[in-house]
């Protein structure tokens, strides 16, 4: 499958907040209630469309465990977007956001779009962090905010797609230099000026869900 742009994402946050489930819901549209700890980085991809343009999202799902923290830092480099996830039923995961954010800001490029996600919104009865608190944190740190449920799929599409829209807008505004791959954005084969006659579709570049 051919695409105009490829955006690289990274999903970060404490262990057990539902990072892998969010990714699975977004790429495979399913929920896995029992999910073992993510060991090391995992990977997913999906095609979306913004403004009539095909955009491939390449998503890196990181391990939340402290042991992997130093490795996660090296993945920030070259990401265009980050989903910073906490669990609305566990306040400690919310309290750790500042550390995550500092880490992300320090090791990523300054234009990286960060979406704050309060996950597990289906567990209203066990809620430990108010929606307003999430909103306030996001406002204070200039992030986009959303509450999602990887279980019911509520807002999951929106979270990934709104982040992409923000990145896309930054490209339109000229904030992101699309020729500099360091920003986590690649121009797809559709855009390639050097070989405009390249047939779109087919080929091995767009194996869905696969590596690229």
């Amino acid at each position: 499958m051919s695409y105009s742009y490829l955006f690289k994402y990274i999903i970060i946050g404490d262990t057990g907040v539902g990072k892998s489930c969010l990714l699975l819901q977004f790429t495979d549209k399913r929920f896995q209630p029992v999910h073992d700890l993510t060991i090391g980085v995992e990977f997913g991809a999906r095609m979306i469309s913004i403004d009539g343009k095909q955009i491939k999202l390449q998503i890196w799902d990181t391990a939340g465990q402290e042991s992997f923290r130093s490795i996660t830092r090296s993945y920030y480099r070259g990401a265009a977007g980050a989903l910073l996830v906490y669990d609305i039923t566990r306040r400690d995961t919310f309290n750790h956001l500042t550390t995550w954010l500092e880490d992300a800001r320090q090791h990523s490029n300054s234009n990286m779009v960060i979406m704050l996600i309060g996950n597990k919104s289906d567990l209203e009865a066990r809620r430990d962090v108010k929606k307003e608190e999430g909103e306030a944190f996001a406002r204070e740190h200039g992030l986009i905010f959303m509450e999602t449920s990887a279980k019911t799929a509520a807002n999951v599409e929106e979270a990934f797609i709104n982040t992409a829209k923000e990145i896309y807008q930054k490209i339109q505004d000229g904030v992101f230099d699309i020729n500099n791959e360091a920003n986590g954005i690649k121009i797809g084969p559709q855009h390639s000026p050097s070989n405009p006659s390249m047939p779109s579709g087919g080929g091995d570049a767009g194996r869905s869900g696969g590596c690229c």
Binding site: D36, L37, I39, G40, V41, E42, F43, W60, A63, Q65, E66, S67, F68, S70, I71, S74, Y75, R77, G78, N179, N180, E181, A182, P189, S192, S194, N195, M198, G203, D204, A205, C211, C212
Partner: protein
Amino acid sequence: MFSKFTSILQHAVDALAPQLSLQEEFVSHWKAVTNFFIDNKGEKLPVEQTSIPVHLEQMLVILQQEDNRCEGGMYGPCLEYLLQHKLLQTLNSLGRTDYPPGMKQIVLSFFTKLLSRIKQPLLAHVNVYRAVQSQIKTCGEVKAGPSEIEEIQFLCTVCAKIKADPYLVNFFLELPKGQSSSSTLPGVKVPVLDEPTSENKLQQEFPLIKTLLTLSHSEDSRVAVKACEGLILCSSLPDPVAAHCLVNSTSFCDDLTQRLIDTYKKLPKEINPLDLENVQAKWGMDVVTKREDEITFTGKRYLISFLSWLDYCDQLSTIANPIVAEALARIIHQKFLVVYFQPDLLQVSETGCITSMAYMTRCLRTVCSQRLLSELVLFLLGDEKKPEVVGQTSDTLRCRLIERCNSVSEEVCLITLQLFDTLLQKDDGHIYDNLVLRNLENRQYFVVKHKDKQSTEVKTIDNDTDDTNKDVKEDVEEFIPQSDNQSEKSSGNVNIDTFSPPNTPQHVKTEVHKIVNSFLTLLPEELKSSYQTVDGGYDMYLKDAHKQYSSVVEACKSWGYPQDLVVPTDNESQPFYEGTFLQMILDKFSHLLDQSYSINLQLTSVISKLALIPHPCLHEFLLDPFLPLKPGIRNLFSIFQKVSNEIKSQYSSEPDLCRKLVTVRKKLMGNSSNMQRLDDESRLEAIIVFEEFCKELSAIVFVKHHAVVTEENKKL
């Protein structure tokens, strides 16, 4: 089919059976597993079609339930059963046979889940770590085997556990076979843990590393990247014994270096510098397909494999235990840089040499870890710390590189200057020491006059203020001649000679605006073209200089630069020599008018990097127009004057020059459609470069001065 049926049956039985205790249930599941091997000899069904996975999963569920109930480090009865009856060892042996087919995967994922789901610390238990250790050894045995994914999950889980509790690593080091300690006499029972003697302690085997290295070569990029993560985790353990074992007893360093060599050898033989500049390569799962290769440029994927592997080594070095980082950097130096890169850098073929220089420059940009960078710098420049002596040339890479800046080939010259430019931006103090400082440090260029002696020795604003602010002063990066501050603070010092003409050697009495003006007035007004166009542009220079200077100061903090100038000893028999690098730079600058625009731009970029450095000697040598120099010795400003005189004598009589300069300037800025080149366009371009560079340097002087003053005011 049949076994599927049994499993369903089993569930039914479970449901009907009277409430069993957790332990009974646990044991019954385990019995069901072991019975399978008694009852089903010779069956060839894959394990998924048997009841084994279900029973094992149930065992995990029970263990987890028990784990959730148990508080404070007490093992529950099921876990106790598992440990006492060495279930893990049994599973291990069952996994080894891979019977029924797929059993190995099932066992691996049992281990993985057990380790990651149970909160109680398990790994330190002898019956766990022994089983885990033998399980580790079964991994990576079959290349591209079907169990790769389960293997890597298991290995990384172990790594993460060790990383979280670093002392655990000792359970995963072992003496090579036949070397175990003396207690293994015949008939004597082997102790629980072979206690290694101190000599062979650092030579123990580290099977975890060995398997991770194997899997890091996997064709499946997901497996490979996780293996690389596992290697980072293990290499970053604080335990020095583990680090030594990793370095001494595994092929870790060689393996990582070999991969650098393999990918290096595949690099395209020619490459567009712009492509090289724009390519991004961070280690991870970015694999460039053949198709992207075709669309962008040939060899891109090889370039990316090389650069991302270099980035991996660099990231690993940043995080790794210093013992590991050190060893890896040395091996990379000896086996890769010297053996492969050096001949390429020194080759005679012009294109080959340009490509390889471009690759080296790109490598320098990628490498940021202290150890690896330092090794790269040692490779390029050597480790010499004593001052260079005139005429003493050696056949080193450093020497050849400096010579290349004067190459007849413009391209070679340009790429070499770019290499130095990149080098001067790297965070390693040895670069500046080796290239310039070692020859300037004793200030042999400086004329010591008796009356000056006092004022240079005591580098303070005035003695009164100094006493009160002694502590403060020590922290201030001071490299501006003292009198700047004097006048600034109008301490009423009578020594300020505001009327001295610019060329009198009154360097210590100079105010910053005089220095700034000395640079700005080098080119006569009628030869300046910037006022004719929109951009006078001085603000931009100030802004840039300010930004760059702040980051340079930050980087230099740890380099221990002196704040004060030393007084050179008069009786030094050694004549002053600026060193091959500065000599080349000064020579090249004196030929400004005869060099191309791009060379001149690159040259000024290198000089401004040097000028930003907060080292008092380098500062005065490059930026002090009033420095009293010994006869026959030149500094940057004297070269500037020479160029300025050359320009004046050649062009001052020429009519119409100003208009020509404006035209050329417009062209350089891309504001002109006129493509026709004038006869002496290159010289006119050089004049424009000169004009701009005088502004740039004066801005640097100003910013450096300003920084010192603000810093002082802040502290007062």
